[in-house]
């Protein structure tokens, strides 16, 4: 067993884990943060995307020990004070989800896209940047609309971004 210490959604966490434990297993099984999902075993679907030190990673291909001394943010950690993050609100407003299973990974990837590409995103950029996230329900049409709207919403809510 190996000891890992990290910050998850603003809380300090220390645990002994089997060295082969994946970050997604650590989040789901140890911390019971089940909003982060597993949809494949080849790092293709993106249902497991979380932020590691502010950058999107696939937590199914990250070892828990790699997150030692790091800051992790999951889907459970982005709403502040009972207010949805602008990207969460945009997914709801634009019907960017159906079954909800890919949604946490989509939202975490979308926030990362905005952080990297800015608040004004055209359709082609969004489609290209969502390369690492699969959705089987929506045909992406409304996800693309939601990401564009969420990006604008993030510009109007600087406090939200600072909290990330």
């Amino acid at each position: 067993m190996t000891t890992v210490s990290l910050t998850v959604n603003g809380q300090s966490v220390t645990a002994d884990v089997d060295p082969r434990t994946l970050l997604v297993q650590f989040l789901r099984d140890n911390l019971r943060l089940t909003g982060t999902h597993v949809g494949c075993d080849t790092s293709q679907c993106g249902a497991c995307v979380v932020h590691l030190n502010g950058q999107a990673v696939k937590s199914c291909t990250t070892l828990a020990v790699q997150a030692n001394a790091s800051v992790v943010t999951t889907i459970e950690g982005i709403a502040q004070g009972g207010e949805l993050h602008p990207m969460q609100a945009a997914f709801r407003e634009h019907h960017g989800l159906q079954c909800g299973y890919c949604t946490p990974g989509m939202i975490m990837s979308a926030i990362d896209i905005v952080n990297r590409k800015g608040n004004t995103l055209d359709e082609q950029t969004i489609r290209a940047e969502l390369e690492g996230n699969l959705c089987r329900c929506t045909g992406y049409h409304n996800i693309v609309k939601a990401v564009a709207a969420g990006a604008k919403g993030m510009a109007q809510a600087p406090l939200q971004q600072a909290a990330e």
Partner: protein, 787 residues
């Protein structure tokens, strides 16, 4: 229309939990003392099992038990079933081979279940599974759909020629006569490629047994938990029905693949009692590829006869349908009664005859996948119609229009009676949105850039609702296909609706609440929708076949009518009027012609305190249930137009425009309906351009991961132009037709018709990958060189 009533684009109630990571899917459930199951699967497509030595696995760390098919047999656990009986042309019943949950003596596809290890952790179970020693006598495999009936390999003893049934529908003699007098006959050979449904949530199951009460609980990724309970109890015999609770909580997409009752959940329930611990299994994606039921896999030859006026006078179809190694739960219905009855499309075709040979192969079982039979039928009809129009040098839109059914009801030669529709209205609207009149200009502009532009139509129809019970029973269904609902009004006037439908992305918590809001005049916040738990909802048939609106919501509407009727009786006592004078309008019970009235919630309270009436005459309380069995299938229909641009140098097909105009009857929530259309189109485009499950000749699935099986991504799809036309459905009280499968049904022929239009020849199969399109483009350029 109220802000939250029928027709309003209400934002979904369920989304708050999904966008915050608070959804509860099966794998999120962890029961006290839970152990983990891992299935040892066959690495061979076809082999006799000489021996299984579980001894080395039993002594591995953390192992609690290892079970094989012998253990299930010793406990008299039955095999998995196929619930739809099909008879061959000669009247003989279909040949159903045994389907044990864990193999007995033989494995029949890669991924077949050989043994299960129950251990303290999943990692320990996986490690131990590797220690099980299985001696196989490997047998040759049969994988090819078209060749299966001629193969020397025999998948099941009951079927020497690997044939499950030779079935037919329609009138052979009339069809032959039509072809004899035809002016023109168009022929086509088609392969409807095998698909893997791939909901992003993999299947999962947690079985639990309570020694004190002798009660079992199964948490499972199911679209129809009551049917799962019925099959697990009455047919497989794992637990008595009244002792088994099945819970299907949030389910992450189904598309058909979560209708079926599989080996894994069967074993988890049974093993929980054996090891006296909750037993959890969660599929990984590789297992899902191997063992979730696949979809489609037809090989078809079809011919269309037209007369001198360009009128379709006959259609004959021969299809070989691959059902895989075992008959999955509803597999036999898919290439038969969900397929051939749709071969008339939107067209007035006086004579149709269809033969279907269903075969076993050493591949994963094939069953219903979004559309289930109807995409296969639509692909046949719409490819043939397009090809016929081209051969007759007629505009494909106008050729369709000339052959549309215009009088309703219309009885087809293949058992369906279409109730209503206006196909030309959808065509006109689609042509306008697609800017069809300027297509040639766009084609020329593409040509100037060295690109090939094409346009493809799909004028589809589907039969949804999968009902009524009497009709499906006469066609071989082992169950009735109605739906149930219970409307419980609380003393405060809030409402709980218990439904036998199941939501796994469709947004029932919102749309069903909209119906209640509309009818009872209360806010949707006052309504809770309860589903997916057999301890809460008494019985239901579940969600598939685009049936939850037309059938499930009609049951709710019927129960609401009963609630209102009871409320009028209560109001008559409270308002001191005769029952006949009580009206219910805008959420209030009032006395006609007076200003005396009380709100729905006030009457609900009066019903429960019962001070104003004698319980002898009128029972206290306000709760009503209903079972709703429709009078007919519903017939959603529409026109999709796909416009593509092909780069002949790379073979890349880009969808430039997508127009969808659908008639779903009355729409409860247009935002959700459009979302269903988008998702369906994406799956249909996936089939046409990207997806295909491929087995090699030894029966290894060589597309068994998301690295190898090409799922549609955002960049592969365009923005969709979606329009609607409305002819209310006369077969249910709400006028709903259903919308869940339309896109997947309409899309594949639209794409292929567009590509073949662009290429100028018909020779392209699905998936039309860049490589395949490039080859076809070269052939079109230099017919000799590419031979």
């Amino acid at each position: 229309m109220t802000a939250t009533g029928i027709g309003a684009p209400v934002r979904r109630k369920e989304d708050q939990r999904f966008v915050t990571g608070q959804g509860r899917y099966v794998d999120d459930f962890n029961r006290p003392g839970q152990a983990h199951a891992y299935f040892l699967r066959s690495p061979h497509a076809h082999a006799a099992i000489r021996s299984i030595d579980t001894g080395p696995a039993m002594i591995m760390p953390g192992v609690i038990a290892v079970f094989t098919g012998d253990d299930l047999a010793a406990d008299k656990i039955g095999g998995l079933i196929c619930g739809w009986m099909i008879h061959s042309k000669d009247g003989s019943p279909m040949k159903a081979g045994p389907h044990p949950a864990l193999a007995q003596g033989k494995v029949r596809y890669v991924g077949d279940h050989v043994a299960v290890v129950i251990a303290e952790t999943l990692a320990q179970a996986k490690d131990a599974a590797e220690a099980i020693v299985v001696h196989y006598d490997v047998l040759p495999a049969v994988v090819d759909t078209a060749q299966a009936a001629k193969a020397s390999v025999q998948v099941h003893d009951v079927s020497p020629d690997n044939t499950v049934f030779n079935w037919h529908l329609g009138n052979k003699d009339e069809t032959e006569a039509a072809f004899a007098r035809a002016k023109h006959v168009t022929k086509i050979d088609l392969v409807n490629n095998r698909l893997v449904p791939n909901p992003i949530e993999p299947r999962a199951a947690v079985g639990e047994y309570d020694l004190g009460t002798d009660n079992y609980t199964l948490y499972t990724t199911s679209q129809n938990p009551h049917v799962a309970r019925l099959v697990l109890s009455a047919f497989i015999g794992v637990a008595p029905e009244h002792k088994l609770r099945v819970i299907a909580p949030d389910v992450g997409g189904g598309f058909g693949s979560k209708i079926f009752i599989y080996a894994e959940e069967t074993v988890c329930v049974w093993a929980a009692k054996k090891v006296k611990r909750p037993v959890k299994w969660t599929s990984d994606r590789s297992e899902a590829f191997l063992s979730d039921a696949h979809g489609r896999d037809h090989v078809t030859h079809a011919e269309m006869a037209t007369d001198e006026n360009g009128k379709i006078i006959g259609l004959r179809v021969h299809t070989t349908a691959n059902l895989g190694a075992y008959l999955s739960t509803f597999s036999s219905s898919v290439p038969t009664y969900l397929y051939a009855p749709l071969l008339s499309g939107q067209y007035d075709i006086p004579a149709i005859y269809c033969e279907v040979d269903a075969v076993y192969t050493n591949t994963a079982p094939v069953d219903a996948y979004r559309g289930a039979g109807r995409p296969e039928a639509t692909f046949v009809v719409e490819r043939l119609v397009e090809k016929t129009a081209r051969e007759l040098r007629q505009d494909p839109a106008e050729f369709r229009r000339r052959n549309y059914i215009t009088q309703f009801p219309h009885a087809t030669p293949v058992i369906m009676t279409y109730d209503t529709g206006d196909y030309a209205a959808s065509l006109d609207k689609a042509l306008e949105i697609a800017d069809y009149k300027n297509f040639q200009q766009r084609k020329q502009e593409s040509a100037r850039r060295g690109k090939l532009r094409g346009i493809g139509f799909s004028s589809y129809i589907e039969a949804c609702g999968i009902a009524p019970s009497q009709a499906v029973g006469s066609l071989g269904a082992g169950v009735g296909l109605w739906e149930s609902a219970e409307v419980r009004v609380n003393p405060t006037g809030s409402v709980e609706v218990l439904t036998g439908s199941h939501s796994h992305g469709q947004g029932h918590e919102t749309t069903f609440a909209q119906l209640v809001s509309d009818r009872l005049g209360i806010s949707i916040d006052q309504v809770s929708i309860v589903h997916g738990d057999t301890d809460k909802v008494q019985f239901g048939m579940g969600t598939y076949g685009s049936r939850s609106g037309a059938v499930g919501m009609s049951a709710i509407a019927k129960a609401i009518d009963k609630v209102i009727a009871k409320g009028k009786k209560v109001a008559a006592h409270v308002l001191e009027a005769s029952e006949g004078d009580i009206e219910f309008k805008d959420g209030r019970f009032g006395v006609a012609g007076t200003d005396r009235s009380m709100a729905f919630g006030e009457i609900a309270l009066q019903a429960y305190i019962a001070h104003k009436f004698s319980g002898q005459d009128l029972e206290p309380g306000l709760k009503e249930g209903a079972f709703y069995d429709p009078t007919n299938f519903t017939f959603p229909a529409g026109v999709h137009i796909c416009e593509v641009e092909i780069d002949p140098d790379t073979g890349v097909t880009k969808i430039e425009r997508w127009t969808a105009v659908d008639d779903f009857g009355v729409i409860i929530n247009p935002m959700i309906v459009e979302g269903q259309v988008h998702g369906g189109i994406a799956q249909g485009v996936g089939q046409a351009l990207l997806e295909g499950a491929v087995y090699d000749q030894s029966g290894q699935l060589i597309t068994a991961s998301f690295n190898d099986y090409c799922m549609p991504r955002a960049i592969d799809l365009p923005a969709f132009q979606v329009g609607m036309t409305v002819t209310p459905c006369p077969s249910n009280p709400l006028g709903i037709k259903g919308c869940g499968e339309a896109g997947a049904i309409a899309a594949p022929p639209a794409v292929i018709n567009a590509i073949t239009d662009a290429l100028g020849h018909e020779d392209i199969a699905m998936p039309a990958t860049p490589q395949a399109v490039w080859r076809a483009a070269q052939k079109a350029r230099m017919p000799m060189a590419a031979e």
